[in-house]
Symmetry: C2
Subunit: 474 residues, 2 copies
């Protein structure tokens, strides 16, 4: 299985002992994650414990021209983890320390392997929380690397806005900090934002400094249902346009509600549904609820059903978060394929209509859900990965969704990232800006060892160096 | 005066006619702006009208290795406009068209020369506004280039967060768009944020797509005064830590109030003052006011004085915005020198105390003001630029302020940028990350023609190409 220079591997093994593994099952898991994309196996997995260890491995890999692929919690969806040219998977699960929390500055610093739920569990007693919530219990490093967002982004924005600074191991093994703890700065190039969303292709994120929020004084959650999905979308658009600061506003179509009811043992009304969460003082929440309720009525929605207790709210959002798994579980042996486009809010209704037309003749189980306040939505398909025609069908629908989104000024991915899965759309979305991305990539990672084969299409200016450099080494 | 290859200049003149000027007064103005830094004269100023004209000039300058310096409204403060190696100043004042406003998506696209006040004048009738407000009537392109912020940032963040995408002329004359109109995206490297704050050193921003806000239903402004400036700072910190969404929270020390009263013919109480603005529904504003008032009382402040009418509010903020000019006007023939640091909020009181100690023995007129909700504050000095010892005194205080800020995890500039004035602190603040900035700069602008001499210190990895390349050409 191993294609690496044996000397390189034995050097690494003597350094890391049983924290290096080449077990086939582990390689398979690390080369795929939850993605529907085929696994690309790394040559070895190393469980690192510190930034210095990451730097040590990167220096060694740079010398031997071996690819390095960071692995957080394995929840990425677009083939980010696939070791398309082999290499070393850096597993961050043992770099999971919360290094510092400063309640008075509403910020903290964590190692990249800390997960979202772990962090929020720790923060709860301090009256704080970290709002970015992609559903999956992803690692904070992985969320930064894919510029993740999720259900709370309509109010609290995305990882782009909530990362204050990063510790990064560069492709030559140097360690940098990308920013200070000041809440704003005009000091030099925004390296933080350059690494956020770079999917491990420019460097390895090992520590993350995050902005935090105070847990709101009062929280309320509610569901309302619509006979037509278009009414639900129109409601969401009106809420955004009126600037009502809802904390969550999630669309779940009827198919999704059916899947979620079955998977999470719930009995939600079998209708197209908007799920809301409101944060603020009791008076502020009451005001938001009153305004939203009147918009819901104007658009033909039913009255709110309240999830008033903390427990009910938790069940509701847990069910929403398990939507991906709920759809996939409808079919034995299926894998999930989640599409992901984001469009200007004014184009959202048209795009969702277009998507529903595409789904009319599709017999593969599928459901629409979306962070509709951002103009971001998904179709989750439960595909049989052994059926090539199914994969082709979904790929064709996915392509049409993306092209519709691009045609109205949107993006091919709102929050999942490019990985290998969306590379084909980079040129169409970015034009010549892709060549600039390639220039930056080549300047920072001349040997192409950092998560090669991701983000940048082969037609971008110059071929990737990695594959060639590495095979020359062997 | 002109040091350029005469053939190059005559080629440019025949193309642009009387839109090219070499008038000494114009060169002086364009090489300095409002900065206290010495002017570095460009060889010529060209008043461009389109992105394509900018690209045409950049291509010509690239061929002849001539520097290009973009000029918006001339309000930058750290020597950004200084043509340290000569070259062409690109004046954007005739690229001032508002290209598109989409009220339903709360966004717009403007040419880079549109000013903040021009944009807000246009938006008013649509019930919209653009919140970023650095005080000066800066151009939107210049605000993007310096990652500006200002009085509203405590609620509405900075240019970093409010620019959706840019049109940029690259150093080779190619034109790119850095993003879509989607409110969020995970598609590739964040080129938008790379150019925001790059001060014209990586490319020329020619068009800007911005997020907009609905004009709040209700607005209230109030002043409260404190005998001790520390009480005012503690009040601001408590407001931030409790997450009260004030729209503005500005510190003006007693010296500033005196200057502002004289300059703007006001009679504000001669005390250390916090000025607040509250945005929201009437109920939300009332709630914010109640909470803030109780914090003010707890910290020994006096009761609010209200600016209730639109007219009074306008006078108040106009006076605040003219603070820089108010201090400078106290002294005949003086120029303003505004320091600018930003620190974690928990360190703000200590830093301001430290600054006040530094000012105790300083006889140059000076006043402290700050966007204290962000941890960002300034001292404005009215210096006599002909007195070398005064410049030295202010430089020494400035240096101590910056070093104090860096020592507590802050940044050497919250919003003014690096220009030439803060280059000396780049290495101290960013360490080896400066070398990475240089690698990016060299990859994108190998001939060093884009606003050379800004942001990057000479010790960063490799010498700047521009000066040499250009003198080789002559």
């Amino acid at each position: 299985m191993t294609r690496l220079n044996p000397e390189f591997l034995s050097q690494l093994r003597s350094r890391f002992g049983d924290r290096l593994s080449t077990s086939p099952a582990l390689l398979e898991q690390h080369g795929r994650g939850e993605s529907h994309h085929a696994a690309g196996l790394p040559d070895a997995v190393v469980f690192i414990k510190s930034t210095e260890e990451a730097a040590e491995i990167v220096r060694l890999c740079a010398r031997h021209r071996v690819p390095v692929i960071p692995y957080g919690a394995g929840t990425s969806l677009e083939g980010h983890l696939s070791a398309v040219h082999g290499g070393i998977s850096l597993d961050f699960s043992r770099m999971n320390e919360i290094l510092r929390v400063s309640p008075e500055d509403l910020d903290c610093t964590v190692q990249a392997g800390v997960t979202r739920e772990q962090l929020n569990g720790w923060l709860r007693d301090l009256g704080l929380f970290f709002p970015i919530d992609p559903g999956a219990n992803a690692s904070i490093g992985g969320m930064a690397a894919t510029r993740a967002s999720g259900t709370n982004a309509v109010r609290y924005c995305t990882m782009r806005d909530n990362v204050l600074s990063l510790t990064v191991v560069l492709p030559n093994g140097e360690i940098i900090r990308t920013g200070s703890r000041a809440r704003k700065s005009s000091s030099g190039y925004d390296l933080t934002r350059l690494f956020v969303g770079s999917e491990g292709t420019l460097g390895i994120i090992t520590e993350v400094t995050l902005r935090l929020q105070g847990i709101p004084e009062h929280t309320a959650a509610a569901l309302c249902s619509f006979t037509d999905v278009g009414q639900a979308v129109d409601t969401a658009i009106a809420v955004v346009q009126l600037g009502i600061p809802v904390a969550r506003m999630e669309l779940m179509d009827r198919g999704l509600i059916a899947a979620v009811n079955a998977y999470s043992h719930l009995s939600l009304k079998l209708q197209n549904t908007l799920a809301f969460e409101f944060h603020g003082s009791p008076a502020a929440v009451e005001e938001q609820v009153r305004l939203v309720a009147s918009i819901v009525r104007d658009n033909g929605g039913n009255d709110f059903e309240w999830a008033t207790s903390q427990e009910e709210r938790s069940r509701l959002w847990k069910a929403r978060h398990s939507a991906f798994y709920a759809v996939v579980s409808q079919r034995h042996g299926a894998r999930g394929w989640s599409s992901d486009v984001c469009v200007p809010v004014s184009e959202l209704a048209g795009c969702i209509r277009h998507t529903r037309e595409l789904l009319k003749t599709c017999t593969i189980p599928a459901a629409i859900l979306g962070h509709v306040g951002d103009g971001n939505y998904h179709v989750v398909f439960a595909v049989d990965p052994s059926q090539a025609d199914e994969l082709e069908t979904v790929a064709a629908i996915n392509k049409k969704m993306v092209q519709k989104a691009l045609s109205v000024g949107g993006t091919c991915t709102g929050e999942h990232g490019i990985g290998t899965g969306k590379i084909a759309y980079m040129r169409q979305e970015h034009g010549q800006a892709v060549d600039l991305m390639r220039i930056i990539k080549l300047a920072m990672d001349p040997h192409g060892i950092m998560n090669p084969g991701k983000i940048l299409p082969d037609d971008a200016l110059l071929p990737v160096a990695s594959g060639k450099a590495r095979s020359g080494e062997r």
